[in-house]
């Protein structure tokens, strides 16, 4: 699914920000924007002091999946991993953002009565949460399987996914299953594989999901990541190689892609 973006970035106000475990949640008012489709993303940049951080960066806007969308208020969740997210993590109510979007191709709903299995790793959770919020058809069973580094990172899961049964996995076992989220996924598919898998997370996790679903012949939709400059197909920078040897632009052809279009999920 793709909702068209208005042409041009919008200067919008931050309604509030909160720390949730290891992550930062940012609530942004976008009254002029349309209601996005799960899996779509926005390009964000702080309106003030965007730059002059570590190594005189950031310079380009940064891509973020939206997590929530209620009456023109968008929710984002991210971790401070570099100068861009570091600057965004400083923003609070009243600060302003440049926002472009919604961008890209989102998820498509499960067909022919399949159940929805949402498999997320770390900052892969946001688009899955957005998806769970729209999969409110009582006939569609939805389960969320979320992997995190540890309990500190997993804390955010509590605040999310109301109404959706959630299973947690952590690397250190400090909460939920100790191990990979793909182990939870395998278990679920053993139980009932008439399913569509929706996955977002670090490349190795997505690759494990891809391999597992390929082997089980279960359709999977992967939300990919790639370094981006523009987010709307202008720079050709965000490519990922497809099984047929051609490249897709994650920002316009994705970020959501059918797993069987990929031979593997690349590291960057």
């Amino acid at each position: 699914m793709r909702t068209l973006a208005p042409f041009g970035r919008r200067r919008v106000a931050v309604a509030g920000g909160e720390d949730a475990g290891a992550y930062r949640l940012l609530h942004v008012d976008d009254p002029a924007g349309p209601s996005p489709s799960p899996g779509q993303f926005y390009m964000l940049a702080a309106a003030e002091h965007w730059g002059a951080g570590a190594d005189e960066r950031p310079y380009l806007p940064r891509a973020f999946s939206y997590m929530a969308d209620a009456g023109g208020r968008l929710g984002f969740m991210f971790e401070d991993v570099g100068p861009g997210t570091h600057r965004l993590a400083q923003l609070d109510a009243g600060d302003e953002l440049w926002l472009l979007g919604p961008l890209g191709e989102g998820f498509s709903a499960p067909a022919d009565g399949r159940r929805a299995l949402l498999a997320g790793g770390g900052i892969g959770a946001p688009p899955l949460y957005a998806l769970s919020a729209v999969l409110d058809d009582p006939h569609v069973r939805v389960d969320a399987l979320l992997g995190f580094r540890d309990a500190h990172h997993a804390r955010v899961a509590e605040s999310l996914f109301e109404g959706t049964p959630v299973q947690l996995a952590t690397d250190d076992g400090s909460v939920g299953h100790q191990g990979f989220v793909t182990e939870l996924l395998a278990r679920e598919l053993d139980a009932d594989d008439h399913a569509v898998v929706y996955a977002c997370g670090p490349a190795p996790m997505l690759e494990a999901v891809r391999a597992l679903c390929a082997e089980r012949r279960v359709p999977a939709q992967l939300a990919l990541e790639a370094g981006m400059a523009c987010g709307f197909g202008a720079c050709y920078g965000c490519v990922v190689a497809l099984a047929d040897g051609s490249y897709m632009r994650v920002c316009v052809d994705g970020p959501v892609v059918d797993a069987d279009e990929l031979a593997h999920v690349p590291a960057h």
Binding site: Y59, F232, Y236, G245
Partner: protein, 311 residues
Amino acid sequence: MAVEFCGIALAHPVINGSGTFDAIAARRAFGDAMLDAFPFSAFVSKTITLQPRSGNPPPRLWEAQAGMINSIGLPNRGLAGYLEHDLPRLAELPVPLITNVMGSTELEVAQLVESIDARAEVAAIELNVSCPNVQTGLDIGADPRSLGSLVRAVRPLTRKPLIVKLTPNTADVAAVAAAAQDAGADAVSLVNTLRAMARDPGSGGPWLGGRTGGLSGAAIRSVALAQVAAVSARVSLPVIGMGGVAHGTHAHDLISVGATLVAVGTESFRDPCAGTRIAAELKSLQIAGSSSIEVNRSEPQPEVDLNCADS
């Protein structure tokens, strides 16, 4: 703000830099609203080659200080794919089209120019000469002699305005521009990106799939201004100036040293409507300033005996 460029009437002097705005992809993202508010007074295509190219392996981007490095590698459908698939869609844009082409041999370039010349949808042709000469290894665009012979060879093949896009990675860009003019080019455009490199923080090897890449954006603005000034002073051809243009003042600077048009590249990544904004800012500057800008196409000459860039 209306301006004439090589006989083409344009609504304002701000166009896009080749490869920095994909109008077809933008229409997928923004819909037809993008057509109504099209940011540029002419549209320059990404570089087209004879054969299709998939481009360089990722990663293709590195964020630099007030700029970025790209090693995209000229992905394109190839001439046939462009003519069949892209051109009809580009023809729906509300502005004149400029097709940017590159070939690794004179023969290739000749084929490209001839086939584009045959298409009425195209208003002008831009030659990207930032690619290595098979003999010298130097970029064709860095060597006045090889550039001159290339332009002389293809010039007769088209009646459309022929623009030569110069590389900044050369000792004397004005000499290259003069060679293009002597060989019959109708205009020159500059600057292309500055050769640059970034290391992978993890592996320590080159970050970019193409190993090296090109620096663009604010970081190169003052280098571009110097080169556009030097070229405008040397040649009488119209000049398309670009390099780090992000505000009307930057466009105004380039026009003041002699550029007829200004192109916006990297800034469109930060603001897809940058072209519209910059054209508006430029307009108010021109109204504020001495009605029309007083252009100075004489090269800035140092008064000092030894002029050393470094000190």
